[in-house]
Symmetry: C2
Subunit: 314 residues, 2 copies
């Protein structure tokens, strides 16, 4: 099945201790859509200005990303600029120009409203609610978020969390949202707020997945060099959601109840981690443009061995 | 085979945001010896004063810990006092009284010199060297360390690292020792300094194991409540080393070459993690005193499932 992806589409300027690049394709929806496109057709919901390079439009099309939900309006595209510190774990936003994004109201084309799998990428909770309101009978809805919304739109975020099937956030955000220092407690607390699944991203330490009385600890791929962490979380969410959508080809595959089995979600978390691990190997989506199916399968197989210790010893 | 364990033996005062306890049995050798005793007989090398409670001596004996290498001298036992901050991840040392520890020179009894498996627990590198000098033909030597020695005895530590088969340290120490921010790079750099194996402990995030062209990411057990993290690292090292020693019953089991297979080390890392996960559930060694073989096996089985995603999906 196809996956509906909502989020920001941006032109980024990214500085690391080693390099700086300007006018890169970025934004939560861009990264998530491209990551999901490895698994399933994508319907993209977002907004850009009339300065948005046609090469990016062509790139989305080449990845089987449907653009009927993409608004192209007079004005400038959303721009973000950030700088990574020496350890690549800390980031400072240098500037944000909302531009056409400031008045964005995501209106779904008719064909999008019956989407069954939905990824509400990182964007204001009000816009995530607005998309959710237009969906006829979604089967599985994933929301991604960030600390900004915990700080300035907590009520809207909490009511959104209560409406979705899965929340994805990072470790600092999980602690901030719940006031719990233990990530294990934090994950369980967020589940109590509504979502059947919670994924807590821990960067270089991998990811924790919480389900009903079930838990999965996904290792991180052991990368020596990270060139640009931008979009890693969006790629994780996109890969995960795209994989889940790809596992359901017809309405019959959805089963009678909402939701997905925990075992399938485990695999989705690994697929998301694989795509994210490629993405940080270069700026923007440069590495994803080149990843082959074989490379993807190979890295998935490596994930199998990273934390396996059983039945290896004679 | 038995395991030789060197380290500190202390009476600890530990304060957490919730509780405070004084005069607890502590020290790197105490924790490591008790953890190792789940797997194999232990020979303890350390020093205490004549104020050391006889109940602790009896406890060691009850755990099959040989005390011929324990020096009991006139004076007071080493005392350490520390306080954990609200998130239980940060610790402040409140006071240290070296007492009899100040003039400790570990002399091995004759029967200890032929030990094949050795854990040089966290203690001054000069003392770790001194024990190593007295060993006749050790098969596998593991050293644990801490940031203090990186700061005040770096040269001695580096020469020790070059002499051992495995180094265990935490993530902050690995970064400090190598100047690398990536733990993957740091682990590989430390291997280049000599040890065939390096284990980097990451607390709530588990542990990374590096071998020759091999890598293992061990998850952390998902504990909701940590009552006292003191000694977790020592228990990890002790459990790991004790397990390795237990897998070699005779000299024939040692094989012709030094070292242990990577697959066996993976299991050792998990066994160490299991023991450490019990230990943080209460103060001092209170939880370890009660752990049954069944509880231990049960938690080992849970570790199997924590990060497993293969062959679970139909």
């Amino acid at each position: 099945m196809s996956l509906l992806v909502l989020g920001s589409i941006a032109l980024d300027t990214v500085k690391t201790p080693i390099e700086e690049h300007a006018d890169l394709l970025g934004g939560s929806a861009s990264y998530a859509a491209v990551a999901a496109s490895f698994f399933t057709p994508v319907k993209l919901v977002g907004i850009v200005g009339d300065d948005f390079p046609s090469e990016h439009i062509e790139f989305f099309k080449s990845r089987n990303v449907d653009l009927e939900g993409l608004q192209i309006v007079p004005g400038k595209t959303f721009r973000w600029s950030g700088e990574y510190m020496w350890d690549m774990n800390q980031r400072e936003t240098r500037s944000v120009e909302l531009n056409v994004f400031e008045n964005f109201t995501p209106e779904l084309p008719e064909a999008y409203r019956s989407s069954r799998f939905v990824l509400l990428g990182n964007i204001a909770p009000a816009l995530q609610h607005h998309v959710l309101d237009q969906l006829i009978r979604p089967h599985f809805v994933i929301a991604d978020t960030m600390d900004l919304w915990i700080n300035i739109a907590k009520e809207e975020l909490l009511s959104l969390i209560a409406r979705v099937d899965m929340l994805i956030l990072n470790d600092g955000e999980a602690r901030e949202l719940t006031g719990e220092t233990s990530l294990i407690k934090a994950g369980r607390r967020i589940r109590e707020m509504g979502p059947a699944f919670v994924a807590i991203k821990k960067g270089e330490h991998g990811c924790l997945l919480f389900g009903e009385n079930q838990f999965f600890s996904c290792p991180a791929y052991p990368l020596e060099d990270i060139h640009d962490p931008t979009g890693a979380g969006d790629c994780f969410a996109g890969g995960l959601a795209g994989y889940l959508a790809s596992r359901h080809l017809t309405d019959a595959d959805l089963g009678e109840k909402k939701g997905v089995p925990f075992d399938m979600m485990r695999q989705a978390v690994v697929e998301g981690s694989v795509v994210a691990s490629f993405n940080v190997e270069s700026f923007s989506m440069d590495r994803l443009r080149k990843v082959t199916k074989e490379e993807n399968s190979e890295r998935y197989e490596i994930f199998r061995t990273l934390s396996r210790f059983e039945a290896l010893d004679a």
